[in-house]
Symmetry: C2
Subunit: 346 residues, 2 copies
DNA sequence: ATGAAAGCGCTAACAC
DNA sequence: GTGTTAGCGCTTTCAT
């Protein structure tokens, strides 16, 4: 219990000294290299144990020169968002099969913090970096990219940087959602979205607007709310929408947190509006929530494959994988308008 | 676009050469040290930009000697479990205020992988390590601990290692749940738990059994299922329990995933048994699920404070923080038994 | 304000 | 099978 507290950690030299061999032999013995006598090896190991020696990975990495790290970094907006955590899960499983370890850091959707995290990981020479970027500018990564460290962008595309990416089919998914609701007869549809600067938000909004145009709904912007980034904000936004006169007869909630907020707002509502959400939500099937679903694990898996390819030396141009979405009709999205659908806007 | 691909990354020496100063001056200029002429500084910066230079943090760390890292590691069982991700969130917020960055890796509840992850992070000389350990043995961390790197165990206690920890009041919470159900009149209570080797599971089971003893329920073990580690397994386990004759009139699901599985299994059930879950679940309030709740963010926050204390040089003995639990009665746990409660076991 | 030399802990070469 | 030497890229003396 009372070992040398401050003494700093023992180095290979001390292990070598204690076991009476040269530093290089100690290195070989501990690294498990073949050409070491069995008893030498065990002597060195004992000395290491006794000293509480741990290899200094920093020194090793410096000497070996960078591309020996087993660590891959992942930068996401928010660990607590199941979309991201499922993505991380898919990525990790795939990397683990290759002996690579995933470390995940959360940017809190702050571009400056994202940059500092990327710097920290890059400086530590991770083997590759997967980013769900919240930034709108990625020039600072160009140099790293040219020096050969692999990047994969997920969920949101790189800006002015030719690297691999895995994206959702946001436009199509949102268009489907919009078309689904107009097909049931809705003309006043409340739309609630995340931070307006995010490309995912813009793409989804575009898709939705396409559907509105196709259905001849001109006043879609009347019921649009943006920048609802957390559940509580989304809940308030939905309550505000429902308080309008005339109230929307349907809702399109453009991500999982917003859908949660809406479900909260709709709790106990006598005649709830129709609801379609983007992203799956926990218990969505049990609750009968219609959603535009997709597979975050697959997204992670595909990202891992692109990355592994590059680690293996693939040199081709940037590739883009698009993950499909599909509408799951479970009840909430099929409720017809309670009042005549054409009351407003004509 | 066609920069030197293979050329390896530029070093400080190259930046120095290009800007016509010594290597040390270049170092000073880029590190933002005061005693550098303004035009020298800008010349060096230009050269660095032109070369796509990035500081080699590995070399810096080797030279500076370990305790300058801004990275703190977190090892958890599963990123996709909201309990862990909320814990990570609380931890991260607190660390960020001190300029420290959190990197999280997932052990998948595999002790061997946990060990390898700990090794990888420790070798990279993280500033501290927070672990929700799935292992039952932590001797290999003792040496690191003695060399002064701070550990904090969360959710599950360290074994034979005197380090700080933040734990839930599992025993009390589970006892409350059991007492709540017997108070409503239940005598046949299905209990579904996670991996039996986990201390959290054992503590919760002990607490529940205490409540059964206090209520004079002797046959509690008849309806016990363990090792239900994921939602699907839990769902099957609950269905199997409900198929018994006589069927349990109530369920105690001992963690959030198991509760999700139970909710799935109970979907559309004409006369669902009472249900109390351990851990909060998403939409738990909307769905009326009674739970033994606690605050994972607080757990993370407290862990961060213990860690920061140690980083700041605190030398006292290991401290243990216990996070309280409280029963939230929302409906599902208050349903009375459908059939006479005393049918079985007397 | 700038530079020269030493060295952090390790491993790759090349001895022996 | 084992030892010697050199050097990864940086920062720290200590000079100038």
């Amino acid at each position: 219990m009372t070992t040398d507290r401050k003494a700093g950690r023992p180095s290979l030299a001390q292990v070598a000294a204690l076991s009476g061999v040269s530093i290089k032999t100690a290195s070989r013995a501990l690294a498990g290299e073949p050409r070491v006598a069995a008893d030498t090896r065990s002597r060195v190991r004992d000395a290491a144990d006794q000293l509480g020696y741990r290899l200094n990975g920093v020194a090793r990495e410096l000497r070996r020169g960078a591309s020996t790290s087993t660590l891959v970094g992942l930068l996401i907006g928010d660990l607590a968002n199941p979309f991201y955590s499922r993505l991380a899960g898919g990525l990790e499983r795939e990397l683990r099969m290759r002996g690579l370890q995933l470390i995940t850091a959360s940017t809190d959707e702050d571009p400056e913090w994202e940059r500092r995290l990327a710097d920290a990981l890059l400086e530590r020479r991770v083997r590759g970096l997967v980013i769900a970027s919240t930034a709108t500018e990625h020039a600072h990564l160009a140099a790293e990219h040219h020096h050969g460290i692999p990047f994969v962008f997920v969920d949101r595309p790189p800006v002015a940087l030719a690297v691999d990416s895995v994206l959702l089919d946001n436009h199509h998914g949102a268009r489907q959602a919009g078309a689904h609701l107009t097909a049931v007869g809705h003309r006043r549809i409340g739309v609630v979205g995340d931070l307006s600067r995010l490309s995912t938000h813009r793409d989804r909004l575009d898709g939705f607007v396409d559907a509105m145009r196709a259905a001849g709904v001109a006043n879609w912007a009347d019921y649009l709310v943006e920048n609802a980034h957390d559940v509580a904000t989304a809940e308030r936004a939905v309550l505000a929408l429902l308080g309008r006169a005339p109230a929307p007869t349907a809702l399109f909630t453009m991500n999982n947190r917003i859908t949660l907020g809406a479900l909260r707002a709709l709790r106990g509502h006598p005649a709830p509006p129709a609801l379609v959400g983007f992203d799956e939500v926990d218990l969505g099937d049990v609750l009968g929530v219609s959603v535009v679903a997709h597979d975050p694990e697959e997204m992670g898996q595909r990202a891992a494959r692109l990355l592994l390819d590059r680690i293996d030396g693939h040199r081709g141009p940037a590739r883009q994988v698009v993950i499909p979405t599909r509408l799951l009709a479970r009840g909430s999205g099929e409720r017809p308008p309670a009042s005549p659908a054409t009351t407003a806007g004509s």
